[in-house]
Symmetry: C2
Subunit: 343 residues, 2 copies
Amino acid sequence: MSKPTIYDVAREAGVSIATVSKVLNNNGRISDKTRQRIEGIMRELNYEPSRVASALTRSRTGTIGLMIPDIANPFFAEAARCFEDGAQRSGSDLIICSTDRDDEKAARYLSMLLRRRVDGLIIASHTGDESGIARLLEGGMPTLLFSAELPSLNCGSIGVDDYAGGRRATEYLLSLGHRRIGIISDNLPGSRLREQGYLDALREAGLPPVPPEHSVRTSATLENGRTAAREMLGAEPGIRPTAVFACNDLLAIGVLKQARAAGLSVPRDLSVIGFDNTMLADICQPALSTISQPLREMTRRAMDMLNAAIDDPAAPVSHIRVEPELVVRDSAGPAPESERSEQ
Amino acid sequence: MSKPTIYDVAREAGVSIATVSKVLNNNGRISDKTRQRIEGIMRELNYEPSRVASALTRSRTGTIGLMIPDIANPFFAEAARCFEDGAQRSGSDLIICSTDRDDEKAARYLSMLLRRRVDGLIIASHTGDESGIARLLEGGMPTLLFSAELPSLNCGSIGVDDYAGGRRATEYLLSLGHRRIGIISDNLPGSRLREQGYLDALREAGLPPVPPEHSVRTSATLENGRTAAREMLGAEPGIRPTAVFACNDLLAIGVLKQARAAGLSVPRDLSVIGFDNTMLADICQPALSTISQPLREMTRRAMDMLNAAIDDPAAPVSHIRVEPELVVRDSAGPAPESERSEQ
DNA sequence: ATGAAAGCGCTAACAA
DNA sequence: TTGTTAGCGCTTTCAT
């Protein structure tokens, strides 16, 4: 009473297993009559061909690994969903691994994925140590970096143009008349680029360098955003920032929360802009103006790139950067009259 | 230059593959000396044993399937994270399938999981058609229903006590003096139980039956919550509900949004209570009072149950119901003076 | 158009 | 303690 195998189907149909295999994979020449008979029997037997057996003979398992920091983080959950759909379209399944940005955990997952002989790997969780990825590449594993570039490695990548995004966010704030603009950034490489865009935008606007107390770097949680904001907004009006650029939505929402707790009205007393445009941006109050990553497009292209790499591991890798977009909602407004820049 | 196999290790170590297999699985008697030599060689060769080959010989693949409506939905993302950790602890990997509550999609995923020969299945996505699950059970697939019971099927299940949760939410609102309490519920079986708890609580409080316009059933999106609230709150004060129980957080947040749009202050003019206690409840404004599902505990026990079923498919199934808990935040308050019930 | 047979990389008796 | 061997359920030449 165990699961039927290809032998059962063959016996029942009075043909050889080779024939059954051919109808399974739709190759070879099979007469319509036998094909239909065999298909009927498969249905009758509730036959499900073993993908583990076929993975052993072919070189492909039809599974791809996705490493992210945490599936419970809405940004990555949304990305994972897109990847899942993409994998599905190309007949693969996804194994999602939440690394918590823990190098040891990441290494364990990596080994697991290798043992599973995944066809390819998408890494959306920068692990700090490039050596693991370098070894993957040496081993010939098709690998794609998502939202992270490692220029020293010959590994394809796709991500939003973080620098442009940071710049765009800052320019928007500047255009609203803000001149004291704080930043809360994450430790990740992408976040550093966003910060660089921010700095350049300020410099080009002729503003003085950002004082250290208006720039904090932390890791991306709501609570950290709050803490950072508490310090930054503690100063008196006229000194504290009139706007802050948070390098992701979670941090931005922490700022919103803290502003409220401190009795500051957003956007009247303080403007806030985030990054990522997760569903949270639409849920918080006031709704968050933010920089949107075109996830759907990014993941679609990522899957295309990965599939290409799987089909031809020798193909040259590419690095793609897509344009982020400003999404205006309600959390950023004109700088207070008294603080307006002259431009 | 392909991936090393057990043969490569054996040759290099000058032993048979059986010996290598034994150190791999830590069984059989192996002298410490050879074990260490073999382990050294494995490391040297960067050997990763093929789990697909071992899955073919043993009966287990070490993977379990998780069917949910949508990984991008925070409640399920949080649950998936817990499941992932649980699977990890027992040495398995998770394949997550977002069905969008689409029966056809669910069927496709189901077949894929069967072909992958998953060791077990957690179904957290009620698909409406029990026949698929019935067939699974017949086929001997260890299956666990999460947040859904199918009394007609001999399938283990674990979930929160929805009835008690609905009741608890409603009693809380009653205790705040509300007497016109609306409900927005989902189509899912769990949601119906929550609604039943709500109805019973109202009846026992001696309140008149809920008029139809104070009870809407829709599917769980923020937008639907908003729409439902728009209708329900359109009536004049004195007629419209002073409180609404939304059967999940997403719907509740929709209500919050609509209340704000309609110029109603929460909780002064309207109290709102949700269900699930997702991270959203803490992010929205005012923070949402809600009924919490002890996800961590539920998923831990779920994994235990599933593993037990995998180890002994003949063992009797159990149905576990865990207690939900009221989490008080800021979205529910006393009923307006003029509306207080007498009790 | 169909079949026979040799693997794929492992595990698990059973021998030695 | 170690080795031999027969599968596991498929795919894929190569014959027929």
